[in-house]
Symmetry: C2
Subunit: 337 residues, 2 copies
Amino acid sequence: MNIYDISKLAGVSTATVSRVINGADNVKPSTRDKVLNVIEKNGYTPNAFARGLGLNTMNSVGIMCVDSSDLYIAKAVYCIEGELRENGYHTILTCTGFDRKGKEESLSMLLAQHVDCIIFAGSAFIDDNNDKNNKYIYDAADIVPVMILNACLDHPNIHCVLCDDSIATRDAALFLIDNGRRDILYLYNSRTYSAVRKVAGYRKAFELRRMSCDERYLQFFEGSSRDINGVCNFVTSLRRSGLNFDAILTLDDLLAIGAVKYALRNSISIPDELSIMGYNNSIFTVCCEPEISSVDNRLESMCKNLVSICLDVLSGREAPKKSMFSGMLVHRKTTLL
Amino acid sequence: MNIYDISKLAGVSTATVSRVINGADNVKPSTRDKVLNVIEKNGYTPNAFARGLGLNTMNSVGIMCVDSSDLYIAKAVYCIEGELRENGYHTILTCTGFDRKGKEESLSMLLAQHVDCIIFAGSAFIDDNNDKNNKYIYDAADIVPVMILNACLDHPNIHCVLCDDSIATRDAALFLIDNGRRDILYLYNSRTYSAVRKVAGYRKAFELRRMSCDERYLQFFEGSSRDINGVCNFVTSLRRSGLNFDAILTLDDLLAIGAVKYALRNSISIPDELSIMGYNNSIFTVCCEPEISSVDNRLESMCKNLVSICLDVLSGREAPKKSMFSGMLVHRKTTLL
DNA sequence: TTATAGAATGTAATCGCTTACATTTTGGGT
DNA sequence: ACCCAAAATGTAAGCGATTACATTCTATAA
């Protein structure tokens, strides 16, 4: 059953059927009804490939993510997909892994599918130190509109939506400082675009308070934050090595869970002896006792905004190149108020 | 740059170019090289729509999930997508929500995209009580091969991969019983295909031990397991209402976290006074202290198997209609050994 | 050398839709 | 009744691949 069959059944031309399908306004109502009836009766669905071939688009957008099983990314993907679907787009998902090859392969797959737009979900795609490594993104942007979540790149065809992680982390650190904490361990395990900014925010807090920032308190954990016991052991070994801290600020909530475990296992009281603050305000924060204070970086709002900008771009409307959200401290039980 | 351009540049016909692209074996090596060179030089990529139109397939498979931000589903999606991509398929993701309309809409969207196969990721799509409600799945299966993860439906075109949740839950309950627990609370919050089987498994354990199963110990929590405090309060109120239990077995790990919180907040010692066992063996089990014993239901293996069956089906090979995995108890700190 | 099978290549129809352009209808205004 | 612009509809040429079938090589055997 194709458009030609329908046109014959309805006694009109394929052009008219096409017009009806696409809601053109120059069709006589009676004709429209006639065609619609035939379509309805025969359960006809336009062939997406044929349409795609003609229009060179299939109303799809590609989402690139490093690892969609990461809770934060999963939530972003979920949110973005939902918004897109509501607006008639379907989502092609690719998980690339961290290595360059995977990223480039996924990207060309998406490009080969002629997606209308590519969304990079997460800052792990952007190399902040060497812009040359972002060439594959710029190349894609020369072909198709690109959206980036949680990072920013300058290109006429790239639109970015992000949270000001630097300021949010700075505020978190300031909060701890202003609550009397002096030895604040910053625990991170990546050097992505946003990670770099978070670290900068941490430093900035000390600067603002005219305190010196002791580099020993910036600790890089080699491993996944999913390795909770690894994180716990790492913190324990830091303490054993003589580093004293009365607060731990982390790159994400899972690292904070490792920190909580460290305290629990070593009978360090939270938050009296040790304050802990995570980042992302994910469900992990409420999985342990005490529940973890965290920074909400407005993931949902960002995703909605991102899709809305994406739709604007696809409709040729003007849209901001960079949308910045601000994070918000969420206090639970691991910080004193 | 299309196949015609390439054919002209290489001085051959489009048919030959097409043969080269698709790796046909009846092309003279020298011709092949010539064409490949031109393709390489001009960075030509075949148009997926045109190909799709001709072949009526675009090497895509659709994944239906109720909520991809659920950690368990997210992991399944991640795993399935990766396997598919490695085999040259791309993944169209749709999250349907729990209501029927969303499911049907997503499904027709996928069908309209002419995906080669549809994967239902999760048992939430199957109505176990009234098979009529599964009609939309059967209808899809009449058109395209269907794979179901974690549930089973009988249809010539439907293949299922699942864990025997009934036996796994039975074994978990048996373990608790055989360790001297008598009052085992079963906490669940859904009535999906797998939920129904888990409950049945719980009952079965008592039957096997010739004990009667007190219905009051089967407790349905009205709400999401993400509402950890809600779960905690629910358990607390059960206790306050006079129900005594020395073990809690749950439908998923998040519910178990709620149970752990209940114990922690009421100074009930785990596992001496109360054993707790979750389900899924997700990262949540190690987010709290004490870490939660759980049932590993082989998600990764299932996903790999599912994709492998999917590929078999798509290649016209014979494949099992139903693949059953068995779960495995994973003991941590919330159960006595 | 020639016939011929088999390999290599080419021709052109086809997939189902959109749309520029051509044509026909329609409904006022004289 | 007639004209004509505007509305409605139709015609047919793409879009870019695949592939059945036709044709042209090529190498081997007679």
